[in-house]
């Protein structure tokens, strides 16, 4: 694998993935190995970690040091926050969300997982499927990650024994089936020695599946292969008022990102909440027209009719309308050190829309380790609960399992402006 010695002539887009595991699972070593073997690590960075490894009395270079970000973490020797890493193979660019593995785990993992399309779940070959493996898998499924790779690491410490790998695979499948993730793959590896990550190595000859990098290179980069409904939350309205250019007098551009689906000139659209109907007259990027726009593109839409539209409104295809909800049933993860106050009014942001929200009822808290339901009256940091929220104005939503963009929301505490909750509409 020679990473970037040749500039890309094909572009397979960008894949965001997440690594789940604790320091002990060799997660940092795995990421370090991916960066190192794809030749992303440059000489001066390597030199710096060589120095640190030597200072700590290690004989080999500790690749896990590559992902230790902040001073506080370096002092404690643990990763305490989500960090993002980048590498490219020449055909595909990768963004790794590296989520840490101790008590703030749920919050950090939900954060990291929210933008990922693949999760690597690390299992220590000596320990097999643990409580945390179940927790990682449940959270990955909760946040709707479509592709899961169960990486059985530290195969070097079990003599690269195929029976160990097969036993872990069977254990995992026994509980994993309940989670409903369709694409789960298993791979034996040794991050320490680099077996089956970028190179196959020579000690896992009984395994004939793809290497980890081959999986990453070929998995679909899009969140879903299904056709999705067109959803266009309006972020900003462009009215140039440029007196020097009379052509722009009546220009009204509705700026936003195609959160899902696609749109073409001439398509019939409905604007929410007004319900006004029009059609797409033009689609522009930076004032330049194009015939259509697809999922994830940031564009400007011009409509055939003069309609009053502002930030927080949503443009959809008239034939594919979302639900207008003033009460939402959701699964929510509490993110703040300050517990939820059920009597308070919070601010809910859904797409570009902000509405006041109150807790109507909490059905139960879910134990992420046992998946058991527990009755609660409030939520503390890292709690995940099923609940109902009452909203001051409607939001235009789809179930999260159908649409990640219009099924998700965050909760903001207006006194601090902190983001305190993350929710998925059921």
């Amino acid at each position: 694998m020679s990473a970037l010695e040749n500039l890309p002539d094909t572009d397979h887009g960008l894949l965001r993935f997440l690594t789940c595991g604790s320091v002990d699972d060799g997660k940092s070593t795995l990421i370090g190995r991916l960066l190192f073997d794809t030749k992303t690590i440059l000489a001066d960075t390597l030199h710096a970690i060589e120095k640190t490894s030597a200072k700590r009395g290690m004989t080999a270079v500790d690749l896990s040091l590559l992902t230790d970000g902040l001073q506080a973490e370096r002092e404690q020797g643990i990763t305490i926050d989500v960090a993002y890493r980048y590498f490219s193979t020449g055909t595909r660019k990768y963004i790794i969300a590296d989520a840490p593995g101790h008590e703030q785990y749920t919050r950090n993992m939900v954060t990291a997982a929210s933008t990922a399309n693949l999760a690597i779940i690390l299992v220590d070959a000596r320990k097999g499927v643990l409580t945390q493996t179940r927790r990682h898998s449940y959270l990955a499924s909760l946040v709707g990650i479509p592709h899961l790779v169960v990486a059985v690491n530290k195969m070097d410490l079990v003599d690269y024994d195929e029976a160990v790998f097969e036993r872990i695979k069977a254990d995992y499948l026994a509980f994993g089936a309940k989670l409903g993730i369709k694409d789960v793959r298993f791979i034996p590896l040794s991050a320490l020695n680099g077996d089956m990550i970028v190179d196959r190595g020579e000690r896992l000859s009984w395994y004939d599946g793809p290497t980890l990098l081959e999986i990453l290179e070929t998995v679909p980069a899009a969140h879903t292969e299904q056709a999705e409904n067109f959803r266009f939350p309006v972020q900003f309205v462009c009215r140039p008022h440029d007196s020097a250019n009379p052509e722009l007098h009546d220009y009204r551009g509705f700026m936003g990102r195609v959160e899902s689906g696609e749109i073409a000139i001439g398509d019939a659209v409905t604007v929410l909440p007004s319900g006004r109907i029009s059609s797409v007259r033009d689609i522009q990027i930076g004032g330049v027209s194009q015939l259509r726009a697809i999922h994830e593109q940031s564009v400007t839409l011009l409509l055939a009719d003069e309609i009053d539209i502002s930030r927080g409104d949503m443009i959809v295809k008239s034939a594919e309308q979302p639900q207008a909800l003033k009460e939402i049933d959701a699964t929510m993860c509490w993110l703040s050190e300050t517990p939820m106050s059920p009597a308070r009014t919070y601010l809910l942001r859904h797409t570009t829309r902000e509405v006041k929200a109150k807790i109507a009822k909490i059905d139960y808290r879910l134990d992420v380790n046992t998946l058991e339901h527990e009755p609660v009256t409030t939520l503390a940091m890292n709690d995940i609960a099923n609940l109902t929220l009452k909203l001051a104005q409607p939001v235009f939503a789809d179930p999260y399992t159908d649409n990640r963009a219009t099924g998700a929301f965050i909760v903001i505490d207006e006194s601090t402006n902190n983001t305190v909750g993350a929710g998925m509409i059921r």
Binding site: E5, G13, L14, L42, G69, S88, S114, R257, A405, A422
Partner: protein
Amino acid sequence: MSTLTRQTLTHLDWLEAEAIHILREVAGQCSNPVLLFSGGKDSICMLRLAEKAFRPGRFPFPLMHIDTGHNYKEVTDFRDKRAAELGERLIVRSVEDSMARGTVVLKTPDESRNKHQSVTLLEAIEEFGFNACIGGARRDEEKARAKERIMSFRDEFGQWDPKNQRPELWNLFNARSHKGENIRAFPISNWTELDVWQYIEREQLELPSIYFAHVRPVVRKNGLLQPVTDVTPAKPGDVVENVQVRFRTVGDITCTAPVESDADTVAKILLETATTTITERGATRMDDQTSDASMEQRKKEGYF
């Protein structure tokens, strides 16, 4: 008119779409943002992204540069020219003015003014009442930046608290702040140095001449090439050489070093960037070499 044939975006199109989305979120959520423009390559990309986000309208924010007074003339000339071409308002605030006011005090007359930009930046934020500063920083530049949010909250003193950052989920960015506080927004957080050069090539963006190979007097020090200029004259005993160099990053003269290179076009720079063995800041930044944590320390104090 262009047509799209593929169902997913190329990596550059994806990065561009994300950056435009972030710029529009800042414009939609913050009443008084500003875009920091130095004339460097990352901020030149930012201007193109702002054009794509907001044209045919004007930018919903002015441009601002915090000038240490120790910038290369090629870069500040370019800065002024580019702002004029775009017809957008450019604010320049100077570290030298802060020195005259006594809010920046140098330990020694030849101390680098780079880290003191934070003071001038905070003064400008207060002067104009900005509640969001948009910058071209990237997470791949430095370890402390790898954990920075795209919308990064700063308190009244401009301080960053890495242990108490707002969780950032999905594409739901929270750019809210109370009066006196502000948000630093980083639309190209997810770009690497190579992405930036690929974007410059694709968009055919013009750059200050010092990004391309040229002959310049330098002194070799601590593995870096220190340019010999009026601000950084050769000291007795220094061996001055004329070397063909280019800058990978431009900033304050006292802390930005060029690299040896004969790349005189964007295409050649791209090839060099793809095959280099030294990180961008490692090869070029004297200020990051002080300690493993020096960037983190400066950021906590309000640095960009």
